[in-house]
């Protein structure tokens, strides 16, 4: 049972081939796919890849930015346009991983991975599919693991106001440790008060997820000890985080308020 690699010139062709196949896996940067190959993963025998240059593009689109699914973490950290996202991209793996790991692959990386994906979710990320349709990232995540996953060609995100986006990865080993949790918060302010906050966690569920109770508790508040109190109190409410070798569910719940508080009270960048 050999493995075959199929290369397509356009993302659309690759997407069609992927949709038609039961035994294929799309290859982004391969940091996870090739590991599966090395370990003899029996769930696929074909590897599909696309050389479409559109996958590697970073482009402004009105108030939003489109980031190609094939853009790597290293490319994000080097991009002027995406400076606000650099801390999240830098949180993924080490230099070798970042030079290969792609945005598209991060959307589908299983727990505890998906640090960048949490940031994209907080920034109102929308996945662009090969047929041009868009899908909000929460919906994409909700469908993950059910049926064949669609090929994503890009993710569009909001461009946050200066200093309005914050990211923090909590890990036991620094750098390069995997997440106990990651927190991404887009905190737009009007007249000093928060309006329309979006807060997302990585590694606190099977996929990155938003925390609506925290978002609601921040609405109309100021970023000071008193203002964030309700949000901190709601930090772990209703969450059922995974247990793994890095942390127990209890531990993740117990430390979530501490780290959320630190993130919310850090000096404006």
């Amino acid at each position: 049972m050999g493995l075959t690699v199929e290369t397509y010139a356009s993302a659309a062709e690759a997407a069609r081939a992927l949709a038609a196949a039961q035994d294929a896996r799309y290859l982004g940067g391969g940091t996870l796919v090739m590991r599966a190959v090395n370990y003899g993963d029996q769930s696929f025998r074909r590897i599909l890849r696309a050389t479409d240059p559109a996958l590697g593009r970073i482009a402004a689109q009105g108030g939003r930015i489109s980031v190609g699914a094939g853009v790597t973490m290293a490319e994000i950290t080097e991009s002027r346009e995406l400076g606000f996202l650099a801390p999240a991209a830098r949180a993924v793996g080490g230099p070798a991983i970042r030079s290969m790991a792609t945005v598209g692959g991060n959307l589908f990386a299983a727990h505890p991975y998906g640090d960048l994906a949490a940031a994209l979710l907080a920034l109102d990320g929308r996945a662009v599919l090969a047929d041009g349709r868009e899908q909000a990232l929460d919906e994409l995540f909700a469908a993950r693991g059910r049926g064949q996953q669609p090929l994503v060609t890009a993710v569009t995100i909001a461009r946050p106001e200066r200093g309005a986006f914050r990211f923090r990865k909590v890990s036991r080993v620094k750098p390069k440790g995997v997440s106990v949790m990651s927190i991404a918060a887009w905190l737009p302010r009007s007249g000093g008060r928060i309006a329309g906050a979006r807060v997302a966690y990585g590694a606190m569920g099977p996929t990155p997820r938003r925390v609506p109770r925290v978002e609601q508790a921040l609405e109309g508040r100021t970023l000071d000890a008193a203002g964030v109190q309700a949000a901190v109190a709601a930090a772990a409410e209703g969450l059922d985080p995974p247990e793994d070798a890095i942390a127990s569910a209890w531990y993740r719940r117990a430390v979530a308020p501490v780290h959320l508080r630190r993130l919310l009270l850090e000096e404006d960048g």
Partner: protein, 583 residues
Amino acid sequence: MSSQTRVELRKDLFADERDDNLNEIGRPTARQDILGHVTGRSPFFDDHQFDGLLHMRCVRSPHHHARIRRIDIAAAERMPGVRRIILGRDVPHNLNTLLSLIDFGRDDEPLLATGKVSYVGEAVAAVIAETERQARDAVAAVRVDWEVLPHVLDPEEALAPGAPIVNETWPRNVFEYHDKYTHQKLRFGDVERAFARPDVEIVEGRYQMSPIEQAPTETCGAIAAPETNGRYVCHTSTQALFFSLGTTAKLLDMPSSRLHFIGGTVGGGFGGKVDSLHEPLAVLGAILTGAPVKYIWDRAEEMQVGAPRGAERWYLKDAVTRDGRIVARRFRGYFDCGAYTRLSSYAVQKATGHLPGPYTIENVSSDVYCVFTNRTPATAMRGFGITGVDFAIECHMDKVAERVGLDPIELRILNAYRDGDMKAHRRLAKNTALIECCQVAAEKAGWPIRPEFAAMSSLTGGGGDRAAIPETVTDEEGRVDGTPAARPAPRPAAPAPAPAPATASTSARPAAPATRPAAPPATPPAAPPVAPPVSAPAPAAAPAERPQERPAQKPYQPQEPFTRGVKKPGAHRFSSLSGTRRR
């Protein structure tokens, strides 16, 4: 290389004890293999290229404990590239224990499991194929019909009545010491009498340590290939070449003269490369296929199947006078050896020889159990047998210091052993330097200690009364052969204050007797036994009253006789493992 060194040699300490000929310490020196490593030329086992090399991978248990009803290899055997699938019945002598090569223990572990598996990852079949991928695909196609059995993962639960039997060779879930006891004993003085003294405070503690993976950069592996004249060459990552050779000869029932083992560069061992599982399987693969065979673990196997330093749990109980002298210390320890003995039996004895740590305590008692559980078998790692109990002891020292309101460093200096003191395993302490280490550490850390503690020395104040072996009470708790106790008269047992492990043979653990023997045997305080010149701290089971005597150990008895792998059963004494003592 910078010649700047931060090592400071304190030659003022022990000036007359040490030759002033240290040529390495404190000086930059190149390790012997560094040139090869930094230039990428060190030859690792996996660097040896063979034409037509075949690859071996194992079918492993997904269960902690399960009976093997059937192994169906029909589909896997027909897959592309598959040359051979090895089962337990193909292994000529499919039962071993590592330390049988030095006459210790009982054969208790198959190379490939047949009747049942006892830990997650235990191998039941080995597939040999032309490529690694083909081997992996065929492994996935082997069907095993498992009957899942109840399992036990905690050593104290494994000792409870009704616990599943992990390893049929050891029906009590414990390694039996000297074929006599469920545990390794140490008795020195009378701890129970000291605990009852009105002038002491009792300090108890429970400590445990998880298994630790040695995590070598190079995972364990071996390549074996047929040579001429019916010999087989084996390139291996082992850190114990002749141990691996002897083990292979025994398991494959072939003379060691037909085995040509080549080691050399170990890509990180730390104790994790002595278990000799790869060499016999690779050589057997080469025998059965007539071709070179490589068997190497991937990282996941190294973590899951590779034997770690085992978990340990320790209970300590001290009697401490108000001025901080520890007058009694009792230990109860559990080594979680996983499903098979490997080297844990010996780790327990090393730990016991170390008690009660580098302190002079006049009453010491210890019961240490080597317990079988359905976890990955444990093996050696640096500080083998000592690390866990030392962690417990030093945590406990801090706890004692806090309870009696003494500075923790002063407490250690006060209780430290000194030259000439009698240790609990009945050897005189020499070259002790704990006091000086504490003093220098305090000084370097800017930690104030009182002048009388700064003035103490390990060279003075030891010996004399402290060289005496105290009158010692013994007991037969945990006796397994049911024969009447040889010497001590029965005595009433005091109620056990700590939770008692129940074993198959005893329903409750009698504490050491509270009353004195009617006629305590005389001890010779003036004439402590003289240590034999070479052998190291011996297994500390000797009856206290006559320290020179050892109970006769039954010679090692394999379940089935074997003639391969050892030159002569009984040729090596167990104690010869321990190396030499400091001068």
